[in-house]
Subunit: 256 residues, 2 copies
């Protein structure tokens, strides 16, 4: 098996399921850390800051720093900063997204914004959706942290940010730029941070339609782990299957 | 010109624009009333009751009874009653929709409903969208009063019920049954109420994509009036253009 110099690792379904850590995954990343093999976590979750995610992982026995965590909010703020650093921004989203945008120095406003940025917002209101619609119809840049249709909760599946974004897409007849997986943007940013070439890094994830597809689109090798959304068989049957498949990350520890 | 025995008439863009009545239209319908020519108003607005709509028209100088007004809420309640009269219903919508459903004897509930009914709800919350998503994913019948993408307001275009419905469609991956124009259901119900045959009735409206298309699909003649959304030229250029076109309803008064 090929030895990779670094790993990009998904969180939900790969490191944990809801609030339950996956022991083989925890052991695996602690081995990476002990051996000094660089690894970054990549999540479509836009509501939590990297610090909060790192604390959550610490609570599961994973030692990691906040700068190892790339959230879609961070990637969105960075993307917008690359495109138009002086933009005024209307945000529909939670604290993690607001903090990421403020961290890049963006001015947040409700009035005639240059850009509308949408992330999962469990405090959504008709007023917020109307302001976003008006701004996008008036020509504001339209960015959305991810296109997740639904998010798993203890009560069942609830609307994801992709579903909330559909309100503004439908009402404005304009499509947003999506940042999160399966778009390759986060992978590209992570590659820049690592400073390695594409054939030296592998992406590990459980969900074919977000994780693996993001890796495929970014042109890096992918490792599917059978602990989450997509079954081993379903992943193998895809037109572009993952490069490798394991039942748990304990299997991959042999190839470090 | 053909003499019709009855008319189905749109409201917004045909009888008024926002809170401003269109004088030729007001005069026209008052002529219909004087001559005893039956006419019904048909609106995709789901938030107001027929009584409220009739009062609004009265304030513009139009004499009409509440039973001349067919709202999408009323049509939705009637449709559901025809399909499954004993259904328990989870409503996402405003007073006009709740009243219409209660008027048909439906039990409204948040818990394990047989049907989810969505209408424009300016008090929308993530909790309501989540409950609707869960129910539809669990197999509840899914009905939406109309597919309007955006609604005009004094501040600009805000999300219509079609845009809000897109949240649940995206999150559940199930499409609703839409009731309002351009679906022909309201026209069919109005025809039943009139008791006339299809070649005796014409539909009058300003919006090709909702009003005229509903008439086309229901198989009745359509009269396009150039006082609202669709321009005369745009309507004439459609694959199935309206049967007649007038600048204002003053023109059509000659053919009564």
């Amino acid at each position: 098996m090929k030895k990779y110099k670094a790993y990009l690792i998904d969180l939900d379904g790969t490191m944990y399921r809801g609030s339950e850590p996956i022991p083989e995954a925890v052991q695996f990343v602690n081995q990476l850390r002990e051996r000094g093999i660089p690894h970054l976590y990549m999540t479509n979750n836009s509501t939590s800051s990297p610090e909060t995610v790192a604390e959550r992982l610490a609570g599961m026995g994973v030692k990691c720093e906040a700068d190892q965590v790339m959230t879609t909010s961070l990637a969105t703020a960075r993307y917008l900063h690359e495109q138009t650093p002086a933009a005024s921004v209307y945000v529909v989203g939670e604290q993690g997204l607001e903090e990421a945008l403020e961290g890049y120095g963006f001015r947040l406003t409700e009035n005639e914004p240059d850009a509308v940025v949408m992330g999962l917002d469990r405090g959504i209101t008709y007023d917020k959706l109307s302001k976003a619609t008006e701004a996008v119809r008036n020509g504001a840049m339209f960015i959305s942290t991810n296109e997740d249709a639904a998010v798993p909760t203890e009560q069942g599946f609830h609307p994801g940010n992709g579903a909330l974004t559909a309100v503004v897409t439908t009402a404005s007849q304009k499509n947003p730029k999506f940042i999160g997986k399966p778009q390759p943007i986060m992978v590209d940013m992570a590659m820049q941070a690592l400073g390695l070439s594409k054939d030296e890094v592998a992406l590990i994830g459980d969900n074919y339609d977000t994780d693996i597809l993001a890796g495929v689109r970014a042109g890096i090798d992918t490792i599917h782990v059978n602990t989450g959304v997509t079954s081993r068989e379903a992943a193998a049957a895809k037109e572009t299957p993952p490069v490798c498949q394991v039942e748990t990350l304990a299997e991959w520890a042999e190839y470090l």
